[in-house]
């Protein structure tokens, strides 16, 4: 929702950039869709050096957060850091647009930490668009894709695929030739919105779905499945009574998502979130009106981990209440996002239902909740670079593959974008395995097991979670990205410096070798088993950190504390 002065400025920026684009030209890679997957793919492809074009229906929705105004979480936060490690954009934009930062699972150890931030929608879009509109090698155009132009392979050509894409046809009739395509259409593929018993075609509320593309994919032989997701209503914060509700503030020293940032823009200006809960009365209203919700009546699979309120009440009928988090949408906005009550009740029933919730007795709804149903492709049709096996040069990324979540989409986008660019330049691909990171875990899960229900990332999905943590994403991925040509010089410099400092510190610690008596003389008790231990090894012990070691290893005082705490974590896990 755009309001006021800011909007005019943004619109102005867009119009200016749109006019400065070449109206035609030859492109190597074409990205279809400007959501989270599309943005990462577009930037990534451009970084590899391929001439990239991003096609999206409306320029002003680039960087739109369709549902929850937050980035990160358990598992998801690690994906954001991995995207950043490959020089992606999501992490940097989140650092600028974040209005409350929290590290989830802080007490449970670094392997399960989940960095998370509430996001100002307007700031996010503004920053994302700023970055992309001036991204070297990237052009952006507003258009609707109508059809894919596929050239059939000659049999016996040995490629194993059925054909390859040579261009896209737009709604306007214009044909854009290209050798690689990345489709990132999110929930827009034959999207249909459900509210109560009403249903109408749309990808997001107020926006037209992409119908032609669905048909061309089906024609190309892809099996399309149908999935569901939903989003809650948006509420007017001025009509909410926050007194008596549990308050949650952000971390005092937020850890930035991006490895390039030492701090986040709004660390000292964080907003608070508030917690409330549904009541038995709320459940009664929902139950009495289930027959009016077409969404829940269908048998399509919905996101298991973001269940609609109807789903929660049906499945967990014995629970007397469900938590709801009231999250502010931005600094300049009074809109509150109620996390946990997505539903598809008829519009006229939603407000009365919400007024049964403590704090929301007088609430006014600003936008209604709705469910959305959309086509998706069976991700088993893809290879590890997210290129389809069937059609050469066609890559798919994001919700179209059956995932749910911005971060999951972004991680796929960056891998698809890098590989589309590399393919266009005829360079070898970048493949991430399960051992490389959660991105690899996700891609492997998708292309091997498929997606029967919307796939959401969790820490438990990885068997390597002790080694592929959010803190060491750069150590795992940045060099790989650099070798593939997808990491910029600025990032590479920052990374190399961090890496070498950390390894110097570790060396330093390893040289401080003491006996048990030596350690206890310095106030740290160890088993008196006669074995000598170096300081790096000592980091395993509870309460032993580089800070504690500073008194007798004074060189540590010169080192950036952020890097020191990374060494602390490495010491625990190595």
């Amino acid at each position: 929702m755009l309001r006021g002065l800011k909007n005019a400025r943004i619109k102005g920026n867009l119009l200016r950039s749109a006019h400065s684009l070449p109206s035609s030209g030859h492109y190597d890679v074409c990205i279809i869709g400007g959501g989270h997957a599309g943005c990462e793919a577009a930037a990534a492809s451009a970084r590899t050096g391929a001439r990239t074009l991003l096609l999206t229906q409306k320029l002003e929705t680039i960087g739109e957060l369709s549902c929850n105004p937050s980035i990160g979480g358990v598992g998801k936060g690690t994906l954001v850091r991995e995207i950043d490690a490959l020089d992606g954009v999501m992490g940097r934009v989140a650092d600028k647009a974040g209005i409350q930062f929290q590290m989830l699972n802080r007490s449970k150890g670094a392997a399960v930490w989940g960095p998370r931030a509430q996001i100002d929608r307007v700031l996010y879009k503004k920053n994302m668009q700023n970055i992309l509109f001036s991204y070297p090698g990237l052009s952006i155009k507003a258009a609707s894709v109508f059809d894919l132009v596929i050239e059939e392979s000659t049999p016996g050509s040995g490629s194993g695929s059925v054909g390859k894409v040579t261009g896209v046809k737009l709604d306007s009739g214009e044909l854009i030739p290209c050798s690689q395509f990345v489709i990132c259409t999110g929930t827009f593929l034959s999207g249909e919105i459900h509210m109560g018993m009403k249903r109408w075609p749309a990808g997001r509320i107020g926006e037209a779905p992409s119908v032609g593309l669905s048909a061309s994919l089906a024609n190309a032989g892809f099996q399309l499945g149908r999935l569901q997701t939903g989003t809650p209503a948006r509420l007017d914060g001025k009509t909410i009574n926050f007194d008596g509700l549990e308050r949650q503030d952000g971390d005092v020293q937020p850890l930035p998502f991006s490895f390039l940032n030492r701090e986040v823009d709004n660390a000292n200006n964080q907003v608070a979130c508030f917690k409330t809960r549904t009541t038995l009365e709320t459940h009664r209203v929902v139950r009495d009106n289930l027959h009016q919700c077409v969404h829940i009546q269908e048998t399509k699979k919905g996101p298991r981990y973001c269940p609609s309120l109807e789903a929660k009440i049906l499945r967990f009928g014995h629970k007397e209440s469900h938590n709801i988090w009231l999250e502010p949408e931005g600094y300049d906005s009074d809109v509150i996002y109620p996390n946990g009550i997505s539903c598809s009740l008829p519009e006229e029933l939603q407000e009365p239902m919400m007024r049964t919730i403590p704090g929301l007795e007088n609430v006014k709804m600003v936008k209604p909740a709705y469910g959305v149903e959309y086509d998706h492709i069976d991700p088993r049709e893809l290879g590890p670079t997210l290129e389809t096996k069937r059609i050469q040069g066609l890559f798919l990324a994001g919700q179209i593959n059956g995932t749910t979540g911005y971060e999951e989409a972004g991680a796929q986008g960056i891998v698809a974008g890098i590989n589309a660019g590399l393919a266009a330049l005829q360079k070898p691909p970048l493949v991430l395995t399960r051992a490389d990171g959660f991105t690899g875990v996700m891609i492997d899960d998708l292309i091997v097991k498929g997606a029967e229900e919307p796939y959401r990332m969790f820490t438990s999905r990885s068997e390597y979670r002790m080694t592929i943590r959010s803190d060491n994403a750069d150590l795992r991925l940045t060099e790989k990205g650099r070798k593939a040509g997808a990491v910029s010089d600025e990032r590479w410099k920052t990374f190399e410096s961090a890496r070498s400092t950390m390894s110097t510190v570790i060396e330093l610690l390893k040289q401080c070798n003491l006996s048990p008596q030596g350690w206890s003389a310095r106030g740290i008790q160890v088993n008196k088993d006669g074995g000598w231990r170096d300081a790096f090894h000592m980091l395993r012990y509870p309460n032993v950190t580089t800070a504690a070691l500073q008194p007798f290893i004074p060189e540590l005082a010169q080192v950036d504390p952020q890097l020191l705490s990374r060494v602390d974590i490495e010491g625990v896990f190595l």
Partner: protein
């Protein structure tokens, strides 16, 4: 049995209804799952081959889950041959490979692997004990056990994953971790229990290895003959894998027992003691259980000597005695004078005799089994304790032989 898709061809051309009989239910063909009379005719000549019975099973309610037909014919060689030859005239019919029906049942999900193995064991079973165990496996008892373990593991895994993925602020109920931990412990204990059964399953399938040893002339060969002749239960002589050693496979109390040869069992070998002892040592060490056969009167005498002279006379064979795995048969009990012994302190009880024969080290090991001793003063009484490890008998007269056999079978069953 005949596979289903071509059943209709088969039905039309080979199977005709008996004269004066209608198919059950008045249908044009046999009703499924009903055993009915029919005529088997040759598809080409129309000549009747046999008057028999037929039962059809319509998938999935059949052994393999596919359509299956069974022809029951008279079992003369010529009849079977004619029937098979008639079948071979039909297109796309072929004889089933060994185990093929079971394989189809497995591939169609009707049986799982433990059941298939159980079926094989059932067919191969040679003893009652083997049959019973195989039947239970074929019925799916083993499968259930594994399914239970699997369900336990999945449940614990789900709980742990929930804790990893959610946890703070998501209101997971109390005690989830403890729950998962105790579940895992239970599964672990169950698996350990299965593994600790002293290879019982394997022993049952492949046989308990028994070695018989002792000084010459104590009656080892008599014992072997006794065991072998009992109920004429020798099943198969198995040629051994090492040079020249014969093994006999017996059924003792329903359990398969393989008796390995040791020195002195067969009459044809050389009597060089060293080689004989070597063989005995190998056999006893590789055996699961061993019987030491001694002459009762000699044993008593030697015991007396030991008490009186305090000497520790030990023969080579005494080294082979193990505390837990060696059982004793004191033979030739008929040669002992049943009049009261001169000295009341003379040990006549077999259990004390056994203990005295154990090496000093193993004597000092504590064992609750030995604490169950009830020493009876009577000369030829054997304590009927469940932990009997020694028996007194006379293989020549048969006295006490039954008790020995039953007692030993009991021992085998317990293991």
């Amino acid at each position: 049995m005949v596979r289903g898709i071509l059943m209709s061809i088969f039905m039309e051309r080979v199977v005709k209804r008996s004269p004066d009989m209608t198919w059950v239910g008045g249908l044009k063909g046999p009703t499924p799952w009903k055993l009915q009379r029919c005529r088997i005719v040759h598809p080409e000549s129309g000549e009747t081959i046999d008057d028999g019975l037929i039962v059809c099973f319509k998938g999935p309610k059949s052994f393999t889950s596919e359509d299956v037909v069974e022809l029951h014919v008279h079992s003369g060689r010529a009849v079977i041959s004619a029937a098979l030859s008639a079948l071979s005239k039909l297109p796309a019919f072929r004889p089933a490979e060994p185990g093929e029906f079971t394989r189809r049942a497995y591939l169609n999900g009707r049986l799982d692997l433990t059941q298939v193995e159980g079926l094989k064991d059932l067919i191969d079973a040679e003893t009652e004990g083997q049959r019973k165990v195989a039947l239970r496996a074929a019925e799916g008892v083993t499968k259930q056990k594994f399914d239970q373990l699997r369900a336990g593991i999945i449940s614990a895994l789900a709980k742990v994953e929930a804790l990893i993925d959610f946890g703070e602020g998501e209101e997971i109920e109390e005690g989830v971790y403890e729950d998962a931990k105790s579940k895992v412990q239970k599964v672990l204990d169950t698996i350990q229990g299965y593994l600790n059964d002293h290879r019982r399953g394997e022993l049952l399938r492949s046989g308990i290895r028994l070695a018989i040893f002792g000084p010459p002339n104590a009656g080892k060969s008599s014992l072997l003959n006794f065991l072998a002749q009992r109920e004429a239960a020798i099943v198969t002589p198995i040629p051994g894998t090492t040079r020249d050693i014969l093994e006999l496979s017996l059924d003792i109390g329903g359990l398969p027992v393989i008796i390995a040869d040791t020195a002195g069992l067969r009459k044809t070998e050389d009597v060089v003691e060293k080689i004989g002892i070597e063989r005995a040592r190998n056999a006893v060490e590789s055996a699961d259980i061993s019987i030491c056969v001694l002459s009762f009167p000699e044993a008593v005498q030697q015991q007396q000597q030991r008490n009186d002279l305090g000497s520790e006379a030990s023969s080579h064979w005494q080294e082979l005695i193990s505390r837990d795995n060696t059982f004793f048969l004191f033979n030739k009990s008929d040669l002992v004078d049943s009049s009261p012994m001169p000295s009341p302190s003379l040990p006549s009880d077999v259990e004390t005799l056994r203990l005295s024969l154990l090496s000093p080290e193993s004597q000092h090991e504590s064992s609750t089994a030995d604490l169950d001793l009830t020493i009876t003063p009577k000369l030829d009484a054997c304590p009927p304790a469940a932990t009997t490890k020694a028996w007194k008998a006379s293989l020549a007269t048969g006295d006490g032989a039954e008790e020995f056999l039953e007692g030993f079978a009991e021992v085998l069953r317990k293991r």
